[in-house]
């Protein structure tokens, strides 16, 4: 896709929810600061991640991978592995005799696998497998591929033309421009670096498979296993109680998942296969690079009159590199062409707000360059070019509020005039993201005669606090304390729900949860009403009691009410319904930096984020999402870069030593202002805050130094080179 999603501020409002189930205007728990229920398990080490699962007789597996970016597997000799102490079983993933599968397309591509009694022995065995390769020509340099100077590796060419997009009259737009800017902007490939690696534990019982998977979607994994192993869907159970970060890379089952299941079948024993850090960098996905050559025109009164962009990026071996551009701002006359460039590296996967951090950076740096041309303040210039304000397009209000709160009026024009080598600057950038809910996402509620309440749904908690939300929404609907509700998630036995991707989990799960809870409450009211001599509809549930509306004394405790349930618990289920969730958020962020112009070192000193996400369910964990997104984007701004050796195509920094990520001393004070929009229903906030920080930081560096850095990350090398070019 050449052009990304455009603004949806003209989207029709969602159809009204069934009024019986609509979000309460007087919530008891929702919107408050609720500590996550599984916090104690996580801080004490009791929480069991896939990495922690141990099964009786469990074996450990390792994958043998290609060290070359492109090669034909000539032979695989497992005999050495078989002689290793503790060896149990092995498989060849790429049959050298099969021309359809015997070619590896990137460093880390799977070739074979082994399982042994201990992890050490599995590694020994993997290293004892002999693989003979015929190294094939490869392409690792995007510029060379674009210029047609690389070996043709991919069957339909190394470069795929995307769809172009054009609107208005570009020539007229440039004619109307008082100034133009023409520049190239770039962002690098970065990797997800989930702290828990990708991996699974697979255990067979006859022809039935139980798989513990570190995943963002238990139900998606079930489907992946069933189709990948060609076994009935009904024979697969996937469990993920806790998972150590996904950021988009754990929405699909990698080759390691199926390999683990096959080894377990062969060995007749449970097998654990967790990838190591190097494998994580090489094969479990990445954020594609993005680059744009943009020529844009601006009128003397600060309206962008024309925008002409040639864009490209690489998502690795045969995968696209999409991003929205122009991003958010309204430009009547525009044209964009796009090329996906294929190189011999691991392929991209969605990564936290796919496309948006890239589009934001490319666009926002251009915005400040244009603003300077017309000598206009960046906030004012942005406001001039925004789409009209709407509930899902609140940038103007947020920019004004943020500028005031951040002390934007103290911002100096481009280039800090202060003496000395430490320069201070401020930058601003904006974001949008869809989010929103969808079905199927079926919640099951049970109320038993002892008063216990279980809410069960086949979703998962990837660190967002979803488990806590399940309990909060249930307790809120039933007028109970949080502690009276048990939330059960992370297992395909709990039914169908979607993947935790696209900031959709809360919006997809909570409507069904609320409806299932209210339906269960309706049944409970029916059992209670006769003894109170009223119609069920006259009853309400609040503060752990069920009573006649308006007459709190005429009622009973929750426990007493539930005693009337009998031996068969109340059981209800409900799917997501439209009207309780909606799509598209808006946000703005301000950043302040100090730049040492003699070393090129950038330190971020302050960040302010204003972000909406519809109805705020848990203020505490929603804020955490914002902190996390900002830190992710700060890493994108300053540190992250997948570095390939330009000659061999092998990654030189597949670790956490040279693949840099911020530590505590790199984190500035961050202020979060969450905007509650209860009337819009639930939307989701996992992704939008990770969009604009990088651009805001880069623009703060520009404001500090007077040098425009058009390429991420903002390394000392890049910053010093930009300063030298300016001088």
């Amino acid at each position: 896709m050449a052009s990304g999603p455009q603004q949806r501020n003209d989207a029709p409002p969602p159809p009204p929810a069934d009024p019986r189930y609509q979000w309460s205007k007087t919530p008891t728990i929702l919107g408050t600061r609720v500590k996550r229920l599984d916090g104690p398990d996580k801080v004490s080490g009791r929480a069991k991640y896939t990495f922690d699962v141990a099964r009786p007789g469990m074996l450990y597996a390792r994958i043998i991978r290609s060290p070359y970016p492109h090669a034909r597997v000539v032979s695989v000799d497992l005999s050495g592995a078989q002689r290793v102490p503790g060896f149990k079983t092995a498989l060849v993933y790429r049959d050298s005799a099969d021309p359809k599968t015997n070619v590896v397309m990137y460093q880390g591509d799977e070739v074979a696998a082994v399982a042994a009694d201990t992890e050490e022995h599995a590694i020994d065995a993997a290293r004892a497998v002999k693989v003979e390769y015929e190294v094939l020509p490869y392409v690792v340099n995007v510029d060379a591929a674009l210029a047609g100077q690389a070996p043709q590796v991919f069957p339909d060419g190394n470069v795929r033309e995307g769809r172009g997009a054009e609107a208005g009259d570009l020539a007229a737009g440039f004619q109307a421009a008082a100034f133009t800017v023409e520049q190239k902007y770039e962002t690098p490939v970065i990797t997800h670096v989930c702290l828990e690696s990708h991996g699974t534990v697979c255990e067979w019982d006859g022809d039935k498979l139980t798989a513990w998977v570190s995943t963002q979607g238990v139900n998606g994994m079930r489907e992946n296993y069933a189709s990948g192993l060609n076994i009935p869907h009904a024979n697969v159970r996937v469990i993920c109680q806790y998972m150590g970060g996904g950021f988009g890379s754990k929405t699909q089952l990698g080759a390691e998942g199926l390999i683990c299941a096959r080894l377990a079948k062969q060995a007749g024993a449970p097998v654990k296969l967790m990838l190591d850090r190097k494998e994580e960098h090489l094969v479990t996905g990445n954020r594609p690079s993005a680059a744009a050559h943009i020529k844009a025109g601006v009128s003397s009164d600060g309206i962008i009159t024309a925008f002409d962009a040639q864009t490209w990026g690489t998502g690795g071996a045969g995968a696209p590199a999409s991003f929205p551009l122009p991003y958010i701002y309204q430009i009547a006359n525009r044209r964009r062409t796009h090329k996906d460039v294929f190189i011999n590296t691991g392929t991209q996967r969605p990564m936290r707000a796919p496309g948006h951090p890239q589009g934001s950076f490319l666009m926002e740096v251009l915005m400040d360059e244009l603003a300077d041309k017309v000598k206009m303040d960046p906030v004012e210039f942005r406001i001039k070019n925004l789409p009209p304000e709407a509930p899902n397009a609140m940038w103007r209000s947020y920019l004004l509020e943020g500028a005031d709160a951040f002390g934007w009026s103290k911002r100096h024009p481009t280039g800090d005039p202060a003496p000395g080598s430490i320069k201070t600057g401020m930058g601003v950038a904006i974001c949008t993201w869809g989010g929103g809910g969808r079905g199927p996402s079926v919640a099951h509620c049970e109320i038993a005669s002892d008063g216990s309440v279980v809410m069960r749904i086949g979703t998962q908690d990837i660190g967002t606090g979803e488990r806590t939300l399940v309990a909060m929404v249930t307790a809120d609907a039933l007028g109970l304390q949080l502690s009276q509700v048990t939330a059960e998630i992370g297992d395909t036995q709990y039914g169908v729900s979607g993947s935790s991707g696209g900031s959709t989990t809360a919006a997809s799960t909570t409507p069904g949860i609320r409806i299932a809870a209210l339906k269960a409450l309706d049944q409970l009211k029916e059992k209670v009403a006769p003894s109170l001599g009223v119609e069920p509809s006259a009853l309400v549930a609040e503060k752990g009691r069920i009573f006649v509306q308006g007459t709190p004394s005429k009622g009973m405790s929750w426990a007493d009410a539930c005693k009337r349930i009998g031996t068969q618990p109340i059981s209800t289920e409900a799917d997501w319904q439209p009207g309780m969730s909606s799509v598209t958020t808006s946000g703005v962020q301000f950043a302040e930096v100090k730049v040492d112009i003699k070393t090129g070192i950038v330190r971020v000193t302050r960040v302010l984020a204003i972000q909406d996400c519809g109805l705020v369910l848990n203020q505490l964990t929603a804020e955490s999402q914002c902190y996390g997104g900002i830190v992710g984007s700060l890493n994108f701004a300053l540190f992250e870069d997948r570095i390939l050796d330009r000659r061999t195509g092998q990654m030189v920094n597949p670790n956490m030593e040279w693949y840099l990520l911020a530590g505590m001393s790199d984190i500035p004070p961050i202020e979060i202002r969450l905007k509650n929009q209860p009337e819009r229903g639930v939307i989701g906030v996992g992704e939008p805050p990770t969009v604009p920080t990088a651009a805001a930081v880069a623009l703060a560096v520009r404001n500090a130094t007077g040098a425009t850095v058009r390429k991420l990350p903002l390394t000392p090398m890049t910053v010093l080179e930009s300063l030298a070019q300016k001088a």
């Binding site: 060290p67 460093q107 050490e120 590694i123 020994d124 290293r127 000395g420 080598s421 430490i422 040492d596 003699k598 070393t599 090129g600 070192i601 330190r603 300053l638 540190f639 570095i643 390939l644 050796d645 330009r646 000659r647 061999t648 092998q650 030189v652 920094n653 597949p654 670790n655 030593e657 040279w658 840099l660 911020a662 530590g663 505590m664 001393s665 790199d666 390394t715 000392p716 090398m717 010093l720 080179e721």
Partner: protein, 327 residues
């Protein structure tokens, strides 16, 4: 990791007896912070490890200076009052090493003898000079963190933070081998790569152990130590410098200027020292000395910026030594 045997010697003699005359066959393990990572990556595959973390880790006065046991932990170096008072650059270097966890484990001996952090050396795919191959990948590869001084044939930068102040303070290393001890000046310990001797970074024989660092009395000097790091948290320096100045009234009488992370050895710049001697310390003289320190720099394709960073480190270390503002 390849399986290996393990020896826990009672004393330094037993430790030395457990070593081997063959390189990489038997290795001492102190904190293991470098060694174990190298072994996990199959860069180093010893048959036997000899535990040296229980050998001498004390600090003792000696001839007005100090004698430091090589098993001393980095955290203890950083927090040792005597070291901080007499050799502030050593304490300053130690506190910036790695992370709290690394400083709690890593030893003085391990810091000095750790192997290069060059990413070609550290990745098994690249069979470089250091691993018995016949090339250095960095000149035509990804060299943003590589050497700007020294001219090859390998372009690693020496990874030790302590080595730089040790050279600046004119430390002597005590090496114990099968034939007894020998004393080697820190400046002579580290070796520049040559085609003939490209796999090692120092003169330590495979059956020798570095047991002590002996620091001479520092005399009446001013000290500066300045490190430039990309990340504020855990990261390797891009460049750093230790500067020691003996003042002759208001002018510099004697100077030591040593840079780290710029060359395959701790890089002493006599040019910078000459530029300082006889001059008062001012912003101008510091800048001139920094220029002199890097006059012979020969950056590779991607690391010209390091010349600027290293200059800044030298300049600021000089200013810091003189108590002048550094920004």
């Amino acid at each position: 990791m390849k399986p290996f045997a393990y020896v826990n010697p009672a004393d330094e003699k037993e430790a030395v007896a457990a070593l081997s005359p063959e390189y990489e066959k038997v290795l001492p393990i102190g904190g293991g912070q470098d060694l174990l990572a190298r072994m996990k990556d199959y860069i180093t595959q010893p048959d036997r490890l000899v535990n040296v973390k229980n050998l001498d880790a004390t600090v003792k006065p000696e001839n007005g200076g100090l004698r430091i046991g090589a098993a001393m932990k980095m955290v203890d170096v950083a927090e040792h009052a005597g070291i901080g008072r007499l050799y502030p650059a050593i304490a300053a270097a130690a506190i910036e090493v790695g992370t709290p966890q690394i400083r709690n484990q890593g030893t003085v001996g391990g810091n000095i003898n750790q192997r290069p952090r060059c990413w070609y050396f550290r990745n098994e795919e690249f069979v470089c000079y250091k691993k018995g191959g016949n090339r250095c990948f960095s000149p035509s590869g990804e060299n943003q963190f590589h050497a700007i001084l020294g001219g090859g044939p390998t372009y690693i930068v020496h990874p030790s933070s302590l080595a730089v102040p040790f050279v600046a303070y004119d430390a002597t290393f005590r090496l114990l081998g099968p034939r007894g001890e020998r004393m080697v000046k820190a400046a002579d310990y580290f070796t520049m790569p040559t085609r003939e001797n490209v796999e090692r970074e120092n003169v330590l024989e495979p059956n020798e152990l570095l047991t002590h660092v002996i620091l001479p009395a520092p005399g009446n000097v001013k000290t500066g130590h300045y490190e430039v790091r990309y990340k504020a948290a855990h990261d390797w320096p891009i460049a750093f410098a230790t500067v020691i100045l003996g003042m002759d009234g208001s002018t510099v009488g004697a100077a030591r200027v040593v840079m780290g992370a710029v060359a395959p050895v701790p890089w002493r710049s006599k040019e910078a020292e000459q530029a300082l001697i006889g001059k008062p310390i001012t912003a101008e003289s510091a800048a001139a000395a920094a220029e002199a320190a890097l006059a012979k720099a020969e950056p590779l394709s991607q690391n010209a910026y390091k010349v600027q960073v290293a200059k800044t480190a030298v300049e600021r270390a000089i200013l810091q030594a003189a108590g002048l503002p550094i920004a």
